[in-house]
Amino acid sequence: MAEFILEMRHITKDFSGVKALDDVNLTIKKGEIHALCGENGAGKSTLMNVLSGVYPYGTYTGDIVYHGEVCNFNNIRSSEKKGIVIIHQELALIPYLSIAENVFLGNEITPIKGIIDWDETERRARDVLSKIGMGNEDLSQMVNTLGVGKQQLIEIAKALAKEVELLILDEPTAALNDEESNILLELMLKLKEQGITCIMISHKLNEVSRVADSITVIRDGHTIETIEKTDKEIEEDRIIKGMVGRELTNRYPERNSKIGDIVFGVKDWNVYNPSNLKRKVINEVSLNVRSGEVVGLAGLMGAGRTELAMSLFGKAYGENISGEMKKNGKPLSLKSIKDAIDHKIAYVSEDRKRYGLVLPNDLKWNMSLSSLGSRFSKRNVIDENEEIHAAEDYRKIMNIKANSIEQIVGSLSGGNQQKVVLAKWMLSEPDVLILDEPTRGIDVGAKYEIYTVINSLADAGKAVIVISSEMPELLGICDRIYVINEGEIAGELKKEEFSQERIMKLIMNHIGREK
């Protein structure tokens, strides 16, 4: 049998009385890719933080046995010395340093103490990068000029430079498009051949079942089961069952669409990049959405979907915007975001922490923010009673798990934060909602609840536009899908034509078109 590289035994960790991990056991075989699955807040990241020394020895109970010996890591450095490297969801790259500098960040090559040998740094960086198929990159390039996909690879190069034996990846593909994810997954398989053991935390079950040799499911701080991959692929439904403790027979709630007239649409919409006015980001896009309809925008990352959505939302993005916008048959020209909100358009951004919430403030404060001037004030004086009532109502409607409406939103889980953002925009009583990656980084249970909310919005006659990088999600909840590529509409699919292959084909045909 293969030997174990790592055993975590009876790990228990609590945060001021709340048990985040309760007697968790995890064994990792040498040279395997081991996936950790579980809902948000199940304890996956906490477990990995215990392993990598983010939570130092003594703040948890239980043993970490690595290469047969018990290890007490006091900080990240002590675990890295043993060859355990963790790559967090939020990348730890310095944007204005070069690739080479980033690869050896915190691990500089210093033959004379404190003084960096740049020639050697460059040579070794080249070595490491060629291992991950980036041997041709310009090493002096600043990291901020690279896309997210490549940045993720640089993180892996960083780990390789530290002579990693056990690589931990926390949601490595969360911010990547399908193509970039593919490259990363292939690389993981390649690293496995070179003898590197990998632990990956992921919500994307299709990726997990593709690359993982075994899967440990964690729920509410307990290990539920470890599934070995034998000859068969691991079934996604089985993982989901373990994660949520129930069988999700249908990942997308049923809905009978009652589609009405066109509520909102644009014709020949053009948008230029504000930092480079020669670059056209959106080119001659025409689309529309009807009342009671959920319309998806599919496409690869960087296809321009977010830019399109934001340009529609009162020119929140873009310069020299041209084209014809109509709402309820009447031409509409929006000058500002406030203008868009006043005309009953809402945009829920893809990054709730950066663009959606004011994290140090509480639920009710955040929920009322976009309708302060209309619903929650009289002659510019805020009506706090109305605010409290509305917040209480929406806490119930959205099933937000919080102690009270006065809880700070920064302390909520991702799914609950997303619900607060949605509540904020529902309170502005929009006719048209644009939801940008509404389920990014949240767990299966919360996703289902968000889908239910989307359905009820559509049932109430709203026009909903959903942007998502997860194709199955779009296929599951939309009535119609526009495929966007390079800022243009690459095609449109009706419900009966829905399939992932069709979407990919439209994108590929568009990429290969004659320019």
Binding site: R354, V358, P360, L369, I382, N385, H389, S404
Partner: protein
């Protein structure tokens, strides 16, 4: 059941934090009461405390809004001097009537604020740089228009604003002269406080909202009323209510209302808490920044008038390092360095902490140099404790 007790505990916690600085203020006062053999409780000294600190309080109110947006205004000291100088020149050299002078100078302050706001909000130059530059510009302009000389003396109608009193009704109580209006005002405001608290509590209960246990507001009111009447009685034993006290109170009320109860106030907090989220929620963030700095210009001009009035003259060095006092007051009063949190009452308490320190140390004869050391250390300690508490709680 456990839910309600948790809720109550949370109320107690949040209130405790809010009052932490007030307790510190009280302790500092008591320490100097002992060190100065009761000199700092003398009626004249209480009067001086109010008058000496009025301009820093006025500036702290404006500065708090800047701090809420995670910025500061370094130019206020210079703008204070410039506006004071302009007022003095208009009255002394050009014999312009005092009301007209005040109006013109206040408008000038607004224009100075707009000038800064234009660079900050429209041209997007960082506020730190804009206000640093204008600190130099307006200090220099002050020197130029004053020719490096002190301008004075100012007529009595002018000095009234900084050193005058509200109408006085003196009477004899047991052989001591007492000013009645101050006493009446103290009692009147106490009653208003009680009524307001009762109304707000009733309102909350009516709407089924959680209210803190009854002993909390009672203790709070008792403390407020005791402090308030201590001050008004002391003032009554001296010359009555200083005019600047009225100015300060009106400003505190107006700006507390703006920050707590208006859409505009919310928007300032939102811009400081998360600029991007605020913008995407339909808030015109540029406009908010513009008005925050315009407002600071207005309050700087007001403080300039009050300062010149109290000194009965305008000097080129007036208002030196006032910006630092105002910034320190905001942070001592619990404003977050990263923006988005802080209160007007906190900033005022912070200003009073600085004022009582200054006053107490002067009374016991410590040199200005040592006073700076102590004030610096207090600022460092207050912010450190605040940050440490926040980290522990998160």
């Amino acid at each position: 059941m456990s839910n309600t007790s948790l809720e109550q505990k949370k109320f107690a916690m949040s209130n405790l934090k809010q009052y932490g600085m007030m307790v510190a203020l009280f302790l500092i006062y008591v320490i100097f009461l002992v060190l100065s053999d009761g000199k700092n409780a003398a009626p004249m000294n209480i009067n001086n405390l109010v008058m000496q600190n009025s301009y820093v309080v006025i500036l702290s109110i404006g500065m708090l809004l800047c701090c809420l947006t995670a910025n500061v205004d370094l130019s206020v000291g210079s703008v204070v001097a410039f506006c004071g100088a302009a007022a003095a020149i208009m009255v002394v050299d050009y014999h312009i009537s005092i009301p007209l002078t005040f109006a013109v100078v206040l408008i000038m302050g607004v224009l100075v604020g707009m000038w800064q706001g234009f660079f900050i909000a429209v041209l997007k130059v960082p506020p730190f740089i804009v206000t640093l530059a204008n600190m130099l510009v307006f200090r220099g302009l002050t020197m130029v228009i004053l020719n490096g000389q002190t301008k004075g003396p100012l007529p009595q109608g002018f000095t009234q604003v900084g050193a005058g009193y509200m109408p006085q009704i003196f009477t004899q109580v047991g052989g001591t002269k007492v000013e009645l209006l101050a006493i009446v005002a103290g009692v009147f405001v106490s009653v208003v406080f009680i009524l307001l608290e009762m109304r707000s509590r009733k309102n909350k209960i009516k709407h089924n909202f959680a209210v803190p246990p009854i002993w909390q507001p009672i203790i709070k009111l008792a403390v407020i009323i005791a402090v308030l009447n201590f001050i008004t009685i002391k003032l009554a034993l001296y010359m009555g209510l200083p005019l600047v006290l009225l100015i300060m109170l009106i400003l505190i009320l107006i700006y507390s209302f703006i920050t707590n109860n208006t859409v505009a106030g919310r928007q300032v907090y939102a811009v400081g808490g998360n600029m991007n989220a605020a913008r995407l929620s339909g808030i015109n963030t540029d406009k908010v920044m513009f008005w925050v700095y315009t407002n600071m210009g207005f309050l700087s001009a007001l403080a300039g008038i009050v300062l010149a009035a109290r000194n009965a003259s305008a000097t080129p060095k007036a208002g030196d390092s006032f910006e630092l006092d105002a910034i320190a007051a905001c942070y001592i009063g619990g404003a977050a360095v990263q923006g988005g949190s802080g209160t007007i009452s906190g900033a005022v308490i912070g200003a009073l902490v600085m004022g009582i320190l200054n006053n107490g140390m002067s009374l016991i004869g410590w040199s200005v140099d040592i006073q700076r050391v102590v004030k610096g250390l207090v600022l460092l300690a207050a912010v450190t404790v605040d940050l440490y508490n926040k980290r522990k709680n998160s």
